[in-house]
């Protein structure tokens, strides 16, 4: 079967988001395009301020209408998200697409029991009776492997551990079997041993339901664990995109290469780690050319003037770097 013929579930073209602020507009997302097939896992990787979470919120229609200026095209299944009004969006959220957040304690309502919060989604979208919704809530808690689920139905969020709360969040998100699940750093606040459990669970549920998953993370290890494809974001743009293996094992953009080189994993003690110099740019005053140029060791004068476009470096693997031919991973590794 030709994979290219499968129609995409999500299509995003030239998405840009600006926030009006007191000291000028912040360009959080600057022309992001990508697509996502049904049952595919796409990881958005980036540091804080790279625009990955804002992109997710734009897909969910969660950006504040008055403060955020959203342009471009977003399609999820047959819905054009940016053309929809709030009422229509509300019927889609939870049913067509659902989202889980980093901090389950703030995402869950502290005054309702877990059972009630899961049942609410079922009642709202599936128009089930209260009893049927509660029965479904119990099923969902079993599905996300919460121990003694009958008891947890009646528990309040503060009575659960961090891992359990995140499982409850996932149960709510899955309540109506959405075609698309958006996950914004859902495991970052969890302990290592619990993080692995939740990642494996998410992957399993995603495969079971044939659900598309968009997963935002800053952790390359997490991306490698869960992503089919990864997109690396920097200063509101996707700088490199491709299959997880291609991008993480054969990175071509200097930023991705730098990120991988600065991971601590397997490094020799007593020797400096290679680092990317400087810090991420101020999103209010982005340089005219490539945003990474000021930190890039391969940058030339032209990099600082013109915005590089995405270059295909291998089938399905693109890097937005005008010097991609000169940037070879081994060249940079000579230093370390």
């Amino acid at each position: 079967m030709n994979a290219a013929l499968v129609p995409s579930l999500v299509e995003v073209r030239d998405l840009s988001v600006k926030f009006a602020g007191r000291d000028g507009a912040v360009s959080a997302v600057n022309g992001v395009s990508f697509h996502l097939k049904p049952a595919e896992v796409l990881c958005l990787i980036g540091e804080s301020g790279s625009g990955k979470s804002v992109t997710m919120r734009a897909l969910m229609g969660l950006l504040p209408k008055r403060r955020a200026q959203v342009e471009g095209y977003i399609r999820i299944a047959e819905h054009e998200i940016l053309a929809l009004d709030e009422r229509r969006l509300a019927t889609l959220r939870g049913a067509a697409m659902a989202m889980i957040f980093q901090e389950p304690m703030t995402a869950l309502d502290p005054v309702y029991t877990i059972g009630k919060q899961i049942a609410e989604a079922v009642q709202r979208h599936a128009h089930a009776t209260r009893q049927a919704a509660m029965a479904r809530a119990l099923e969902l808690l079993q599905l996300v492997k919460v121990p003694s689920p009958e008891r947890r139905l009646k528990a309040y969020p503060h009575e659960l551990s961090g891992g359990m709360r995140q499982r409850a969040m996932i149960a709510i998100a899955l309540a109506c079997q959405p075609a698309l699940l958006l996950a914004d750093e859902p495991t970052t606040a969890l302990d290592a041993t619990v993080q692995v459990q939740v990642l494996i669970l998410l992957r399993k549920l995603q495969q079971e339901f044939g659900m598309a998953l968009m997963f935002v993370t800053h952790d390359l290890g997490v991306a490698a664990q869960i992503g089919d494809r990864v997109a690396v974001m920097y200063a509101g743009r996707i700088v490199e995109e491709g299959s997880a293996q291609e991008v993480l094992l054969n990175p071509r953009h200097p930023y991705t290469i730098g990120m991988l080189a600065s991971t601590m994993q397997g490094r020799v003690r007593g020797r400096d780690i290679e680092t990317i110099p400087g810090s991420p740019p101020d999103m209010r005053f982005l340089p005219p050319g490539c945003s990474f140029a000021p930190r890039c060791r391969f940058a030339t004068a032209s990099c600082r003037e013109t915005m590089p476009s995405a270059v295909t470096v291998a089938p399905g693997h693109t890097a937005a770097c005008s010097r991609v031919a000169e940037v070879s991973p081994s060249a940079k590794l000579a230093v370390s």
């Binding site: 551990s161 094992l249 601590m264 110099p277 590794l333």
Partner: protein, 381 residues
């Protein structure tokens, strides 16, 4: 009056070169004497409830922790949230009082009649916290924040300022650019550099880094870790590096101490612990590390469930409820750690390491760790 005299002597010392030569004049007991010796430290946080607000229980945050810190080493402390690593840090700095136990700093008991005072300890022992923003006073220029400590300890204003500027340079922030700035004008990584500079302002001998790089972006984290390595040699420092990130700890620590529910479960040289852990919990932590290689995904979680409630920890070995090797003996008897005063030893509080414990696997090593994939570097090259 006495305070004034001390201030004078302190100021005089300050004019000496900041880089401490190999023979540190502050060293008292020689290299063999541990810089820090912590014995049976305990801290329970009472839980009150009911109409009379009576004590109904206690969170056993730190429960009988003993270890030594050798001069010049980096001791990494790892464990999951709630294991007591941050409480331990706060106890050591004296931010909260301990219930019992003792802390000895380079031969001097802390807080005792014959030892050193808390104030004196704090000059020798400083801490850097995770939240770089919350630890800085938003109303003070960063230069003032750094100079604050020395001034409290009696240094003259001008001298404290020049010390601050010198330290800013040392942590990689150009003083002429950064000294007058306020915390909101600099990035998270820069704030953490300021916090480190401030911690160094009193020329401490021991620096406690409590998740000091955890909140930073990965590319900035690597920069700060390199900086810490540089500062350690130049200021003759000893680090207590607390982190939940095993990859970071394996990079920076010479020795590692693993905590679980308020107790030490394993301690030993980094290489020994990362190559052949003796405690099943350490092994599970190591197995939970994610690699950046998508071909080596973890298929089955090494541990199930969350850490138990520290208010009512399991009897016997606290890890037994999540341990794959747990047997009857584990519920009955608390496993001991053994000779913790020996810094070179690799010790684990597990019945399996004790031949006489009666555990069916007593004396046997744990199954070896699945081979860790090589670092990405080697794969690309």
């Amino acid at each position: 009056m006495r305070a004034g005299r001390r201030a004078f002597s302190l100021g005089a010392r300050r004019t000496q070169p900041r880089i401490v030569p190999p023979g540190d004049p502050r060293d008292r007991g020689g290299p063999a004497q541990p810089l820090l010796l912590v014995e049976k430290l305990r801290k329970y946080f009472p839980i009150t409830g009911g109409v009379l607000n009576r004590k109904i229980g206690a969170v056993k945050a730190v429960d009988g922790v003993s270890f030594v810190v050798v001069k010049g080493e980096t001791l990494g402390i790892v464990g999951e949230s709630g294991c007591g690593k941050s409480t331990l840090a706060r106890l050591l700095v004296g931010l909260i009082p301990s219930d019992s136990g003792s802390v000895v700093f380079d031969g001097d008991p802390v807080g005792g009649a014959h030892g050193i005072s808390l104030r004196e300890l704090r000059r020798n022992l400083q801490i850097v916290f995770q939240d770089s923003d919350a630890s800085l006073n938003p109303r003070l220029p960063i230069e003032e924040s750094i100079a604050y400590g020395p001034r409290v300890h009696g240094m003259a204003r001008a001298e404290a300022k020049s010390t601050a500027r010198d330290l800013l340079g040392r942590v990689g922030l150009r003083p002429e650019l950064f000294a007058p700035r306020y915390p909101h004008e600099i990035s998270g990584g820069q704030k953490q550099r300021v916090n480190i500079a401030r911690a160094l302002a009193l020329s401490p001998r021991l620096l406690i880094l409590d998740e000091a790089v955890s909140a930073l972006d990965k590319s900035v984290e690597a920069q700060v870790l390199n900086l810490l390595r540089y500062l350690k040699t130049h200021f003759n420092l000893t680090y207590l590096f607390i982190s939940h990130d095993l990859n970071v700890v394996s990079f920076i620590a010479d020795r590692v101490m693993v905590m679980y529910l308020g107790q030490v479960v394993e301690i030993g040289p980094s290489d020994a612990i990362f190559d052949a852990p003796k405690h099943p919990y350490t092994r599970a932590l190591l197995e939970s590390r994610l690699t950046v290689d998508p071909r080596h995904r973890i298929e089955a979680p090494p541990l199930t469930g969350d850490p138990p409630n520290p208010i009512a920890p399991p009897s016997g070995c606290r890890f037994r409820t999540r341990c794959a090797f747990a047997e009857e003996i584990c519920a009955e008897k608390v496993p001991g750690l053994g000779g913790w005063r020996d810094a070179a030893a690799h010790l684990a509080a597990c019945h399996m390491t004790d031949r006489m414990s009666g555990h069916s696997r007593a004396g046997q090593a744990l199954p070896p760790l699945p081979r860790a994939p090589k670092p990405i570097e080697a794969q690309i090259a």
